[in-house]
């Protein structure tokens, strides 16, 4: 690889690296500075004036936001993610989270009540028994992780679109925001929320969803990367405001569609 060491005119490399590093969590920032990471920043920003506030972080964030729009445009509500036979299921199915398996939150199924809010007619809270009584379907699909690996799993649950209909949600709203027991959260676009394969999953491989896979409820979307599929969901809000999410706020692409 050629190493471009020439600094573009009008760009203070120290400032530029500082700006680029802002995007990263602390341990990564140090590595960012040490590595050759800043070279690309210099190469791409030729001609941009740092003083005017155009930083590497802003440029990348803006392009990522542009990519959200492109992905929303590419998203076809009638396009189905491939489904598989039972024999294709990955066993053991990998556990993945920002905490270790024994730190997964234990939600008490007896006292659990799903909170529903925002632009909906009926804000009554749902017990697990009431949720289990909703029509359910099984779906064997591929979970694709943002890290690159993938695994095929079997989830059973209620279509989110059906649930949104029952609570009288304003489906012209832009987003659905999920809140999780461990403090995780994320926001998805309404088009994905209404996709027929988007499930409120209560079961994994025909058994009650184990703690490690998100008891009591995981929102399973085979049209989005794994981290956009929240586990241990305790709250759901229909909103016109993008409320972000745990990983999205740290720099992962917001739409993250497949």
């Amino acid at each position: 690889m050629p190493r471009i060491r020439k600094t573009p005119p009008g760009v203070d490399p120290k400032l530029l690296i500082k700006d680029a590093a802002k995007l990263l969590p602390d341990p990564a920032r140090r590595n960012f500075l040490r590595g050759s990471a800043s070279l690309g920043a210099l190469a791409l920003l030729t001609g941009c004036d740092i003083v005017d506030g155009v930083s590497a972080e802003n440029v990348l964030r803006r392009i990522s936001h542009f990519n959200d729009g492109v992905q929303a445009w590419v998203f076809n509500p009638n396009k189905f993610a491939p489904v598989y036979f039972e024999s294709a299921i990955t066993r053991p199915f990998p556990f993945n989270a920002y905490y270790s398996e024994d730190e997964a939150p234990e939600v008490d199924g007896d006292t659990y009540k799903l909170e529903v809010g925002g632009l909906v007619d009926d804000k009554k809270r749902w017990t697990l028994e009431e949720l289990y009584a909703l029509p359910q379907e099984k779906q064997i699909t591929r979970l694709v992780c943002v890290e690159g690996w993938s695994a095929i799993g079997s989830w059973t649950g209620t279509r989110l679109s059906e649930f949104l209909r029952r609570i009288g949600a304003d489906t012209r709203a832009k987003y659905v925001w999920f809140v999780c027991a461990e403090g995780y959260s994320n926001t998805i676009d309404m088009a994905t929320a209404l996709h027929p394969q988007t499930l409120m999953a209560f079961k994994f491989e025909d058994d009650v969803l184990p703690v490690k896979y998100g008891f009591p409820m995981k929102i399973r979307m085979p049209t989005k990367l794994g981290f956009k599929n929240p586990k241990h969901v305790i709250g759901m809000h229909v909103t016109n405001k993008d409320l972000g999410g745990y990983w999205e706020n740290q720099g992962y692409n917001w739409f993250s569609g497949l």
Partner: protein, 210 residues
Amino acid sequence: MTGLAADIDRTTTHAESRIIHPLWVRVSHGISIVAMFVMIGSGWQIYNASPLFSFTFPRGITLGGWLAGALLWHFAAMWLLVVNGIVYLVLGVLTGHFGRKLLPIRLRDIVADLRAALTLRLSHDDLSVYNAVQKLFYVGVILAMVIVVASGLAIWKPVQFRELTLLFGGYDAARYVHFFAMAAIVGFLVVHIALAVIFPKSLRAMITGR
């Protein structure tokens, strides 16, 4: 190739007979350097998040600092790579540039030129004419670029473009295709850069055109 475009290209070539690489080739080449630098550097960091093989790339030669940073770089520079690539391919066909410079590639010539190259007797007097080995290399790297972009699209959108993903043998297989296409491009770059250093005249021609 269309007659008019070819005429313009030929006229230009004739008028500035000393121009070895037309301006659009040089600009596209320059953009490619930036795009490939960012795509490969960030791609290595992304690879490290879930390695396909028993090795990872040293952090110092990767771009982005961590996975999210690398993904931001990768999905930004992809536009540069794709737009530049499309413009290059369209102009290459329309101006007849590909037809004149890169074709035909004959097996006989490849064998003869390869032998000459290995015995250090390959002529570089006329930089505007590619020998058979060069042609093979350049056509090969263009194909590798097309494959790297198509397999990248298959990994990025395995649901929306599921037919494309299937063409590569599914999501997991497409990751391997993406990796090997990258490896082919890196292999090309090693030879390409080494030769540009050995023959600085060729490097100058790609920058100034002469």
